[in-house]
Symmetry: C2
Subunit: 237 residues, 2 copies
């Protein structure tokens, strides 16, 4: 986390509520590829050259006018997204991806594929975790997932070095992990800043979904060259 | 924490290792007043008009050439500081104080006077906690104290609203609090960024001292108008 130089590193982008959770659903449900777009205009202009692609994303949490899909994981069902390209833009998540543009590899992280993601991350030596946050401020839901990732990596590694932000995140996750259930995690996410924003627009179910651990075994990965997100298992290294 | 606008608010500055811990020792040991100075040059130029004042502080963790005192709490004993004015400059702590200049009141926080500080903070409605960190990055030792303060305030209050950073800090502190002893807290501080820096210069004992809870009942407060730190009990509101 932080403003570190990401050139050539392995980056992990977190926007639990909801961009990275939604992308993971899309990939798990057979989307061909997702193209993160910084602005609505970018998405629309890309759509001109990809007319069969779906337009997805949000502003103020809500589906963008003229778009096919919003930012709820349930909208990205197999029926809707299988085999499709998706142009996708959200308020904080796609910005965080953009901030990782210099990285060698960019992973898209969520609780719904935590173990699969961490198994793949364990193969890398140095990892930078980037929390999307809200309006430039770190948020609790993203920090909890960052801590969960570090905790998994510590469990599987002989030795691991963490910076202070990673230590703080792991402290916070350790606290959440005590007596952990999907309900207790969802409860924590609901009081976070991102959670309160999602509740405000009446999409509580999205938080429950985002708090479901290991629902999927896909690992969405964003190729910094092609700017496409696909299941890592279908991509070269 | 964060880059919030502090005008008119109650600010709490944390630089556990070691500026705010050291200042608390100085105040507890009867220093008349401490004047935080941003730069060595500022401290020296102020010294011209306050020739009896002691010069204290560090760069790279070490006592500054020509200064009377470094940044170790033990140097600020009653024999040395009682009745004295102190011009004080450190790498991160005095910068954090400067960042709070617009606040109405500025408290100087440390573990060594945690309960006394929180009792006084409980009288205020809105509190902004500012972690000094290191080179602009948040550090674990400061976040743990921030969490401890929030935890104390939650315990004593009917209801309290926290932003996400305060929630994360409280999560981290809850984890540290389980089975808490002075040794276990010191151990956590030693692996923090600030702790590693202090260990590197051979001052491990300073960390053990900083991890001692409630050694003092003074509450150092920095007056934004006079830019003097004194025991809050000897100041107007």
């Amino acid at each position: 986390m932080g403003q570190a130089d990401l050139s050539g590193t392995v980056a992990v982008v977190i926007d639990v509520l909801r961009a990275t959770t939604t992308i993971t659903h899309a990939v798990a449900n057979g989307a061909d590829s997702i193209f993160p777009q910084l602005t609505i205009e970018d998405a629309k202009s890309q759509h001109a050259s990809k007319p069969t692609a779906l337009l997805g994303g949000e502003r103020g949490g809500k589906r963008i006018e003229g778009f096919d899909l919003g930012n709820s994981p349930t909208e990205y069902s197999r029926e809707v997204v299988s085999g499709k390209q998706i142009l996708f833009t959200t308020t904080n998540g796609t910005k965080a991806m953009q901030a990782c543009r210099a990285a060698e590899t960019i992973y898209i992280a969520s609780f719904v594929n935590l173990t699969a993601l961490c198994n793949e991350l364990a193969e890398h030596e140095t990892i930078q975790i980037v929390c999307a946050g809200t309006e430039g401020e770190i948020t609790r839901e993203d920090v909890l997932l960052a801590g969960a990732i570090v905790d998994h990596l510590i469990d599987g590694a002989k030795s691991i070095e963490c910076n202070d932000q990673a230590q703080i995140a792991t402290d916070a996750w350790q606290e959440a992990k005590t007596g952990l259930t999907a309900t207790s995690l969802a409860q924590r996410l609901k009081v976070s800043r991102g959670g309160r924003n999602v509740l405000r627009i009446g999409l509580e179910a999205d938080i429950d979904i985002a708090a479901t651990l290991d629902k999927f075994s896909v690992v969405p990965r964003l190729d910094p060259k092609t700017w496409e997100i696909r299941d890592s298992r279908n991509m070269g290294r």
